[in-house]
Amino acid sequence: MSVKLLLEGIDEPDLRTIEVYRRRGGYRQAPTALAMPREALIEELKASGLRGRGGAGFSMGRKASFLPQGDMDKYLVCNADESEPGTFKDRELMFKNPHGLIEGMIIGAYAAGANRAFIFIRGEYAEVADVLDEAVAEARDAGELGGLELHVHRGAGAYICGEETGLLDALEGKRGNPRLKPPFPANQGLYQGPTLINNVETLMTVPYILRMGAAEYAKIGVENSTGTKVISISGNVQRPGNYEIELGISSREIVYGLAGGPAPGRSVKLWFPGGSSAPVLTADDLDVPYDFDSLAKAGSMLGSGAIIVVDDSNSVVDVCLKLASFYRHESCGKCTPCREGTNWTVKMLERIRDGLATPMDLDIMASVQTRIIGNCLCVLGDAMAMPVGSMIAKFRDEFEQHLEEIALGGPASGLHVEASGIPRALAGTASGDHA
């Protein structure tokens, strides 16, 4: 029997009200945590082995321990800007159990020594933000927040604001451009103060760790990937949605066992194990255990825990173009390799789609990807380069076959993909007439 924590009973009616949340044992871990010395709480978090659930997978306890202590203003920011294509776990968690997040934030703020906290939620999640607003007001009126000043901040639609330093700039009221690191947010984050930034799911897991004890929590999952993880699975599967798994189960169990696999008669062509930024894996990799280290060893990453399954009815050229044009649109334009690299990759993919390219262009496109990786302030460019590079490497035959078919006047790809609009870096240059 697998362990369920975050999703257990999440469909209980009115769980989003404080009464039901309390009846289920809510708001009992926060006072326990606040009664502990801060160091002991951080040790407990470290001992649980909890790794960040937003994408980077960094130890939450260690991150909290990096914050310097002193009289300065310190901040806790919850990253609820869930914009990674394929990811929708935070949406369901916050929407159905907002008080679970608030309790996690009370504990997280204490670990960080922060007295101000913000939930940065993407603007598209307006329905969820309304629920959070209500829950925060309810918790405040009930005296649960204590001295913590907690606000919900709505974004307005920009993927880059999910990057932690881009998020901080956006929260400070600027364009959400990522910052140079170091200094890391733990030292100089929001308003130049020490800042702890955590994903929704990470913070919501904290009360469970305190309830069951770190040692007990660390027994779930596998070494280096402890605990449960909420997986968003979508694309060509029969039962898409959020499933809570114990880390370390086989990926096949998730794709076929839980989500039902592709429609009858179809097979998995490729899958993204951790959001669209993760290098793609093929059907041969379905037996890889789903945990941080095993996926890294297989050449990909767990990322945000979002699996996108693409079946054999789709052209890899279309998927690749769709993916690249997303990153082109979302590149903030600050660093040249990302701004230009994403743009050129889209242009080259359009040439491939239209049959205007040669196989040599595939090499050039692959080389563009290697020149983006590691050369920018943040990893948005890498997030395009890694999956695109992996698709060229693993499906080169199909790219070449596509070019050949068009050259011979054969069928072009079934789905005519349009690259999405102009790059963000250019937005506003044409509409500056009333600025």
């Binding site: 369920k4 999703l7 257990e8 009973g9 999440i10 469909d11 209980e12 289920r24 914009s83 990674e84 294509p85 394929g86 990811t87 929708f88 949406r91 159905k96 993407r122 603007g123 598209e124 999640y125 307006a126 329905e127 901040h153 709505r154 974004g155 307005a156 009221g173 600027k174 364009r175 968003s232 979508s234 694309g235 898409p240 949605g241 959020n242 499933y243 809570e244 669209s276 979002a306 996108i308 693409v310 998927v319 769709k322 997303f326 979302e330 903030c332 789905l415 005519h416 993909v417 999405s420 609009g421 102009i422 937005a427 506003g428 240059t429 044409a430 509409s431 500056g432 009333h434 600025a435």
Partner: protein
């Protein structure tokens, strides 16, 4: 997101050029007779009371008033339908910032409109998961159904974080999906009539797929 930009791309898809550049106005001298950007004076800028109160309530939440930039612009957009020059001027006056500062933030954000648009927003997600399940056809169908109706703002949008109900759309902020192509006329009629869009298909009514979701802990 998938909108062709009128200044950059002509309707036939060809790249529009201005002399040697794609950037309109690159060869025109800037107007040196114009005054430098100023923070509008609150005393001489007519700001509706509710708008001012709303922006000031946002400012009060943050240690730095500039943090209220996005909430203030969102308030302007709710009131005027888009970030109108007058609206931005008013927000700038309340926030003690230049309008250009706020426009820089507005142009960065997909949800803030810097040109006139219809009041009813329909964002159709056209990212990977949705497009695998027919989002591009859905967007085309929605566009066809809406036609030239100026009350609508139909956009193809990047991942809206609802791949479990793909293909989906955010209709005036309400998540709806999966939308079949033949449901589109009903959906658009409901929006025109000011009714709830496809009530049975709204995300908020959808239970979780995980088997544990209905199990009450401890029971």
């Amino acid at each position: 997101v998938s909108e062709p930009n009128a200044a950059f791309d002509s309707p036939d898809g060809a790249v529009r050029r201005y002399g040697d550049s794609r950037v309109p106005g690159w060869d025109q001298a800037s107007d040196l007779w114009d005054d430098p950007a100023q923070v509008p004076d609150l005393a001489t800028t007519p700001v509706p009371d509710e708008l001012r109160a709303e922006i000031e309530a946002h400012i009060a939440k943050y240690p730095d008033p500039r943090s209220a930039a996005i909430p203030a612009l969102a308030a302007v957009q709710r009131r005027y339908g888009w970030c109108t020059p007058e609206g931005v001027q008013q927000a700038a006056a309340v926030m003690r910032l230049t309008p250009a500062y706020l426009m820089a933030v507005a142009t960065f954000s997909d949800m803030l409109e810097t040109r006139p648009v219809g009041r009813n927003t329909v964002y159709v997600c056209t990212n990977i998961s949705c497009s695998l399940l027919g989002a591009d056809a859905l967007l085309e169908r929605v566009r066809g159904e809406v036609g030239e109706d100026p009350e609508f703002n139909v956009r193809g949008f990047e991942c809206l974080g609802a791949c479990d109900i793909a293909p989906m759309a955010s209709v005036n902020g309400t998540y709806v999906g999966p939308i079949a192509l033949d449901e589109v006329p009903a959906l658009i009629d409901q929006v025109r009539a000011g009714e709830e869009p496809l009530p049975a298909k709204q995300l908020r009514r959808r239970p979780s797929v995980d088997e544990a979701a209905t199990k009450v802990p401890g029971a």
